[in-house]
């Protein structure tokens, strides 16, 4: 399938939204923006840039995307940075910081930063700014990870670099640290036209359930998530078993397994033990999954769960809400931003709460329809890629006038 162009989004978000984007883009004019990250493939950031950069170009903004280079030693360091910034205890030797800076300096020598706005994604290239002190353009650091409880030693090293930027962008107030520079909130976003989210024929959805031997003779409750303790698949099985005393239904757990992840097997064993030989519990493990099949599982489910105990932003919630599914989510991380309890889904804090929520939604179709419909609207308003395009356009306009609270464009 060829990548969608801006015009293709008219049908899903409405022509008025696309028209307003083009008006804002006309005010942005002939400006340019460069995105910089550390990988061209794999991971949410690369996936997002792959879509956002061409769409910004469709809007007339000259957008480019550069990927920094490095040897294995650099990426091992940045992987450990990633974990430590999200709170993992670790001590870093001074040499580690020197190596990190060496690769940033090397990349800086090979790159050019002539665009009006430079957006540096995540910690890997964050120090590039250090060699651009006399810049005339604007630099913004877009942090996609949770920095609310960073490893202090590492944060003390990185923070002085971050504070050289003109601004920083975080996905949520929950994830942002104290900084001496302005901070903006950009929610993460899903693409309604990619395979994971686009409309599917009912016959395809039926075929996927058939392929994996999941009868649709009773309501289906599904959680799509890695078999990871923080996603609480064991709690999901417990919730399902409690709910099924009152309402007949099936449980479907769908998860991916990374090639070198021994943790998955351990968690899966616990889930299997909890499930026993219950014929109404279906466990699927993919390596890797097919996006359209995940889409089909979500669309074909009566309820989608994301009963996490700890989360990043959990865009799987937005994926299910976009499909107008009633969603039950753990009240952690970015889930409450997507689910306004009782209006765009149900928030829960325990297996017991999840069980009650399953029973409520399966016995009250009006409630299920209402939260599904509202949830779709919530995603349309805040969590679609088109909204992120708008945020980048607004950022380009606002960075020109940092002192103004209200900007009138004439």
């Amino acid at each position: 399938m060829t990548a969608p162009i801006l015009f293709d989004y008219k049908e899903v978000v409405g022509p008025d939204i696309i028209e307003e984007l083009t008006i804002l883009a006309s005010h942005v004019g002939n400006r340019s923006i460069k995105m910089v990250n550390s990988t061209a493939v794999g991971g949410g950031v690369a996936e997002m840039l792959r879509r956002v950069v061409p769409l910004l170009n469709d809007l007339g903004v000259k957008a480019t995307w550069d990927v920094i280079k490095g040897e294995e030693e650099f990426f091992e360091i940045t992987k450990s940075f990633h974990n430590a910034l999200q709170g993992k205890e670790e001590y870093f030797h001074e040499d580690v910081f020197k190596t990190y800076l060496k690769y940033n300096e090397m990349n800086n020598r090979e790159m050019e930063f002539d665009e009006d706005l430079i957006v540096i994604h995540d910690p890997q290239p964050a120090a590039l700014i250090h060699w651009n002190q006399n810049r005339k353009n604007r630099w913004v650091w877009r942090c996609h990870i949770d920095l609310s409880h960073p490893n202090q030693q590492l944060w003390e090293f990185l923070k002085p670099y971050v504070e050289q930027y003109d601004a920083a962008i975080f996905s949520s107030a929950l994830f942002s640290p104290e900084l001496a520079i302005p901070q903006y909130r950009f929610y993460p976003a899903i693409d309604p036209l990619d395979d994971k989210n686009r409309e599917l024929d009912a016959s395809y959805v039926d075929g996927v359930f058939e392929k994996y031997g999941i009868p649709r003779d009773k309501p289906i409750v599904t959680q799509v998530s890695r078999y990871d303790p923080w996603k609480d698949p064991v709690g999901v099985v417990q919730a399902f078993k409690m709910a099924r005393k009152y309402v007949d239904c099936r449980l479907l757990l769908v998860g991916d397994k990374a090639a070198d992840d021994p943790e998955t097997d351990k968690v899966l064993a616990k889930v299997k033990a909890e499930a026993g030989d219950d014929p109404d519990i279906h466990l699927l493990l993919f390596s890797p999954s097919i996006a359209t099949e995940i889409n089909a599982f979500q669309r074909g489910s009566d309820i989608v769960l994301q009963k996490s105990l700890r989360e990043g932003f959990a865009l799987t919630v937005s994926e299910a809400l976009w499909k107008s599914r009633p969603v039950i989510g753990g009240a952690v991380g970015g889930i409450p931003a997507q689910i306004i309890d009782e209006y765009t889904g149900l928030l829960v804090h325990s297996p017991e709460g999840a069980s009650l929520a399953i029973r409520s939604l399966l016995t009250q179709p009006d409630l299920a329809n209402k939260v599904g419909k509202n949830g779709h609207q919530r995603v349309k308003d805040e969590f679609l890629i088109t909204k992120n395009l708008k945020r980048y356009l607004l950022l380009l306009l606002a960075l020109d006038r940092p002192q103004e609270e209200t900007i009138f464009l004439h």
């Binding site: 008025d16 028209e19 104290e178 765009t344 607004l394 306009l397 609270e405």
Partner: protein, 228 residues
């Protein structure tokens, strides 16, 4: 000839402030000391978002008081604040402070409670811009209204009074002043925005115009001699 009505629209870039409140005392302090644009974000912008998903609260302060603090009486008082009555943020801010301070006198224990979730204070930059949609009279207004974005409808119906400093929506002002149709302007002014999503509001305005036109057409037929 009627003045041309150009539809405007607005959008916001949300800023993180790093400030939060864990209890009502801290909330009161936040409201007293935050920028006008923060108040705007948590009231006018929040209202726009909540209307679209039919959440019955009209500002983040009420939502937090209800959901995180379980102070339903305070939430109801904050919810009763009708944003369409405010044409300055300063007045709105004073009113919010009065409500919370009065509540402290009535229920001092509520101020000892710690919220389940803190209230995160946001700020914003507002960007107002012209669209390429115009109305030259009632007919072209009716033709344009279904094509403008909900943000444009929201801007003219609620938000613009902060710019015009008038206690009225732009549509009613234009229909009354430029089209000389005060009765229709009044009907639109009386719409209770708290009961509609913005799509619902759009439909309601169109419905009122249709009704008005058919009634005036009937009246003029009766006046000119009735059925032929």
């Amino acid at each position: 000839m009627a003045d041309v009505f150009q539809f405007l629209s607005s959008a916001s870039l949300v800023k993180l402030t790093g400030r939060k409140a864990h209890n009502l005392e801290e909330m009161l302090d936040l409201i007293k000391t935050c920028s006008d644009s923060s108040i705007f974000y948590h009231t006018f912008c929040a209202f726009l978002q909540m209307r679209e998903v039919q959440v019955p609260y009209n500002n983040d302060f009420a939502l937090w008081a209800s959901r995180s603090l379980n102070e339903q009486a305070l939430a109801e008082k904050l919810m009763a604040v009708d944003l369409s009555e405010y044409n300055t943020i300063k007045r709105l801010k004073i009113h919010l402070i009065e409500i919370i301070e009065r509540y402290r006198e009535q229920k001092p224990d509520a101020f000892k409670k710690i919220a389940n979730e803190p209230f995160y204070l946001y700020d914003m930059i507002r960007i107002v811009y012209r669209t390429d949609k115009f109305a030259y009279g009632l007919k072209s207004f009716c033709e344009a209204l279904p094509t403008v974005s909900m943000y444009s409808i929201y801007y003219h119906f609620i938000e613009s009074r902060l710019r015009t400093r008038l206690q009225d929506n732009d549509f009613s002002i234009w229909i009354e002043k430029s089209l000389n149709m005060p009765e229709l302007a009044h009907l639109i002014r009386k719409i209770d925005i708290n009961l509609y999503t913005l799509e619902g509001l759009r439909s309601r305005i169109i419905q009122l115009i249709d009704q008005y036109l058919s009634e005036t057409s009937r009246a003029s037929q009766t006046h000119s001699g009735g059925q032929v």
